[in-house]
């Protein structure tokens, strides 16, 4: 404790002290500002809207929004490990930093692919939810090699439409518009109507 304090703040009497205080305060402030600007807190949540804070995720959001899995699984249900809590946040942080750096560097490709680590995560999550169907022996009989397929191939090699549809790429959703709740600055009532309704007669 003492040691840390010493390292960070100059001695009480030092004339550097006020300067340091101001500098630290601004750094913290800047941090908060950046966090807010990047909606950092929302990444802690499971809300799909969080991913859409980044516009390149909007196509995935929109296709998921139109998929059967919307009713059952949000982004993190598939894309984040669910084996233990530590792994979950570790993976999230790692992934988040990766996404953010690519994004900030404007290096996002037109058509993205999951990296191998992500694929494994998703595959495991498919199985996590569908373990009953996947282990159902009734498919063994009539789908050739289903057992091998189920264990050695990616689920979405067959179930291609799950959940982003069969058409991929960040421009493949025409007029791709971000959903409302991520941007709380706008309301759903246009200004003219708000004025009209609230105009006191």
């Amino acid at each position: 404790m003492n040691l840390k304090k010493k390292e960070i703040l100059p001695n009480k009497g030092s004339r550097w002290r006020p300067v340091a205080v101001v500098m630290i305060a601004s750094l913290v402030g800047l941090g908060f500002f950046m966090a807010k600007e990047a909606s950092l807190v929302s990444y802690m949540s499971n809300k799909p809207e969080a991913c859409v804070n980044c516009h390149v995720m909007t196509p995935m959001y929109n296709s998921w929004m139109h998929s059967s899995h919307r009713e059952y699984a949000n982004c993190n249900d598939c894309h984040v490990p669910h084996d233990n809590t530590f792994n979950k946040y570790y993976f999230k942080a790692k992934d988040g930093l990766f996404h953010a750096s690519i994004f900030t560097a404007r290096m996002e490709p037109e058509v993205m692919f999951m990296r191998e680590a992500s694929q494994e995560v998703v595959q495991n999550n498919c199985i996590r939810c569908h373990v009953q169907q996947v282990t159902q022996t009734k498919y063994d009989g009539w789908i050739d090699d289903h057992k091998a397929n189920r264990t050695e191939r990616k689920c979405w090699e067959c179930h291609q439409e799950i959940p982003h549809g069969t058409v991929h790429g960040i421009s493949t959703i025409r007029n791709n518009i971000a959903p409302i709740p991520t941007d709380t600055l706008t309301t759903v009532i246009p200004k003219w109507l708000d004025n009209r309704i609230n105009k006191k007669n």
């Binding site: 980044c54 296709s63 409302i180 709740p181 759903v188 109507l193």
Partner: protein, 473 residues
Amino acid sequence: NRKNEAKYKYVPQVEINENEPRNEEWGKNFPAEYQSFLQTEQGDFASFQGGNAMRDMLEEDTRLAVLWAGYGFSKDYNQGRGHQYAVEDIHNSLRTGGPKGNGDGPMPATCWTCKSPDVPRLMNEIGIAEFYSGKWADKGEEIVNPIGCADCHDSKTMKLTITRPALVEAFEVMGKDINKATHQEMRSLVCAQCHVEYYFNKNTPGKEGVPYLTFPWKDGMSVEAMEKYYDDMNFKDWTHKLSKAPMLKAQHPGYETYLTGVHADRGVSCADCHMPYKSEGGQKFTDHHIQSPLNNVANSCQVCHREEAEKLRSNVYERQQKAAESRLKLEDALVKMHVEAKKCWDLGATEEQMKDILMDIRHAQWRWDYAAAAHGASFHSPVETARVLASGLDKATEGRVKLARLLADLGHNKPVEMPDLSSKEKAQEYIGLDMEKLTKEKEEFKENLLPKWLEAAKKREATYGSKQVSAAQ
């Protein structure tokens, strides 16, 4: 931040003004949505009880004329068609009569509210209460574009938006803030601007005398809550021509009934079924061909249900058939009640003797209409629809027993003779409609006044122009 910068990937062709009413203009920027939207012009799909074909409801079910005797709907009532027809159909409907000019005709200007993106434009220009004021004919030349982009979208951000004050006000009255709606809720709320029960309130504080469009949701959206709302304020839409009952009309409470169904319970929105995703040329977009999902089971239902299209279709039909069965029983009872009540009056019944009976008729028919008027309700919420119909049948039992007793008192202790309802014409004649006159007036309107409206509108819109976006941008 970068998000805001990059909001639009598309290359806009034109700049779209706030409340731009011309769908073609929007279509220049969003051709896929526009093209699909144009398809609501199709009229070749008929399902068991829906679809986009022209279906004369009074012809299909002649009892309706009796139920609505003395009210506009007995003149003309068709199944809703595609959004593209909204303006054409209100022009053609005998309900709007044959106005000869400003200030003429049976209907108020409020009737335009749900028919066109010219509405938000005009409301913005002249004011809301001013929009609702006056006759339907007064605003004929202002409103020409059928339901379109500006009804549901913000022109700057393309986000979904609410442009109809009635919905905003109804939320306020319920103590809710519509701005807090989630994205998924918005995908139903844009529809709830129009597909809801409404009435014209002439006593809105500060707007007295104006037929102000109001959704009766203060006490809730159930059939009982709205009934209570109207009863408490002694409201009636009209006095029935035969029974003299103080009647209520339920207009398409689509959103209200949808909310009570299992799909709404699971967060499925109107747009999920009526505006599914579609792929064309390697691109996905929202299909703006709003229609019966039964004409598009693959993209709508089958996203969530893996059953065969035929099975899903028959699921829908089965629910509709079961509702129709109960509905028709209630209709039969209602016809009898109106005719029996008329007989009572003819035999000299007093107001006092009729009072309770007339309230039974009012309540029974209100329940029938609540269940019947939203054509989708028997699928959107089959259990609630059935409950409402059963409660209507119960009211009818009460009323008919009272009628039987009163008729006996008045010396007529036997079945009352029922009118011949074997055709729409006979039914309309029975309730005393002069259809020839109504049709002729409408023809004259279409020959004389309507062309003038369209002419004037064309001139006005020519002044709007179209602002090309410079290629450099």
